[in-house]
Symmetry: C2
């Protein structure tokens, strides 16, 4: 299983529009510091799956038959806005697996176009060929799923957006050997947000679940500045996610 | 008054995702054939105003203090989706003039960030320095305004999305000398759509209002193909809009 982080940013991305902070000014002239909306591509046995669709160049990035399915964590705009455009495509339908959110976002349900929304039930695995996908409920201001992807004895959990984890999810992940955890880490430890992890929340989850590797995503400019200013040492099996980072699992 | 068409496409844009038609295949390799979501920039006396915000690179295209205001025709995603991202900007607020739509789009009203929504009343002009802006009600599936911009004896009407015009708007525009009409022309004459003009609708409006110049916008690949296949001759004071076209008024 190969995972490519197409975006690792919080809702405002990096650089934040109009922001004069050190990181945002640097990101304007250093593309590697930019952060698109959090989004990841999974490739396995010639198939490709997108997790979230907040990036706005899906139509340019992928040939129309490239994506086998899209998994949505939730229906906030920064996780679905790339669908507004491609839904008007032609010639095929894309399965969009998602939580059973009644509203969706804007008029996506009303005018789905080529999008084939399929709501999943929490903890009920979906098998697509050799890939097993298990929706894990998260703690956020909108109905949100993380997803556990398992294949041939390897496993990756993608958990964003969330503030902490429900005990049932912690128990579920503690019962398996987790190769990689990719997790919402929006803010520095100095910021408390009831919808997103800060750095200390992620450290606690990392220590509780003990994955072989943890990758931070959904990162704000505030966290980037804090990491930079404090010259923070992460645990050796923890990585700061970057746009276009490829992870082999 | 200078107007730049930043986007001239219908909701699906050109190329349409996955489409194999002549125009879409050509647009993939010929950037000048591409059509972004319909959107225009007005520049006047050092000030800049955006009409609609469906383009997704507002944050990259404009320095944060560049835009004096944004005028929204309506709250369909292809006309507002560029706001989802920049609303999380910092340090200033952008006036967003719009129709009195109760819903808006997704959570834009709930989480406006730096966006300062100001609802306008139809036919009641707004004066910003030397620019007068008059909202004109249109005929669409969501509450929609066109806008008449006048300055120092020159005038431009931007009317999209619409199917035909309400008689009161036709009368209003007939009572003035209109230098330029930029108008929704989504489809070829063979297609009837209750929410958008086809080419014949636009011809009828052009002949009724008699502007000095008419520019087609909100163009679908269907219209592009039809114009191409029929080698259509437009009236001499009618232009097919193109992305990045600049118009002096």
């Amino acid at each position: 299983m190969k995972v490519t982080l197409l975006g690792t940013g919080a809702a405002g991305g990096v650089p934040v529009f109009g922001c004069q902070c050190h990181i945002c000014l640097s990101a304007k002239i250093t593309p590697s510091l930019r952060r698109n909306p959090a989004c990841a591509l999974i490739e396995l046995d010639g198939a490709a799956y997108l997790i979230d669709a907040g990036i706005m160049d899906i139509g340019e990035r992928f040939e129309s038959s490239f994506l086998n399915a899209i998994f949505l964590t939730h229906f906030h705009p920064d996780h679905v806005q790339g669908l507004f455009h491609i839904r008007w495509g032609s010639g095929f339908r894309i399965p969009i697996f998602c939580p059973p959110d009644k509203e969706g976002c804007a008029d996506l349900y009303k005018n789905p176009g080529i999008l084939d929304f399929r709501q999943l039930k929490k903890f009920e695995p979906l098998d697509i060929d050799e890939l097993r996908v298990t929706p894990l409920p998260l703690i956020h201001s909108k109905l949100t799923y993380g997803y556990l992807f398992t294949n041939a004895g390897t496993s990756m959990a993608y958990l964003t957006d969330t503030k902490g984890l429900p005990p049932a999810v912690t128990d579920y992940l503690n019962a398996i050997v987790l190769d990689c955890l990719i997790i919402d880490t929006t803010s520095p430890p100095t910021v408390e947000n009831r919808n997103h992890n800060n750095y200390n929340d992620t450290l606690a989850i990392h220590e509780s679940i003990r994955p072989k590797k943890t990758v931070l995503t959904h990162i704000s400019h505030d966290l980037d500045n804090w990491l930079n200013e404090n010259n923070t040492s992460l645990p050796e099996n923890m990585l700061i996610g970057r746009d276009n980072m490829m992870i082999k699992i």
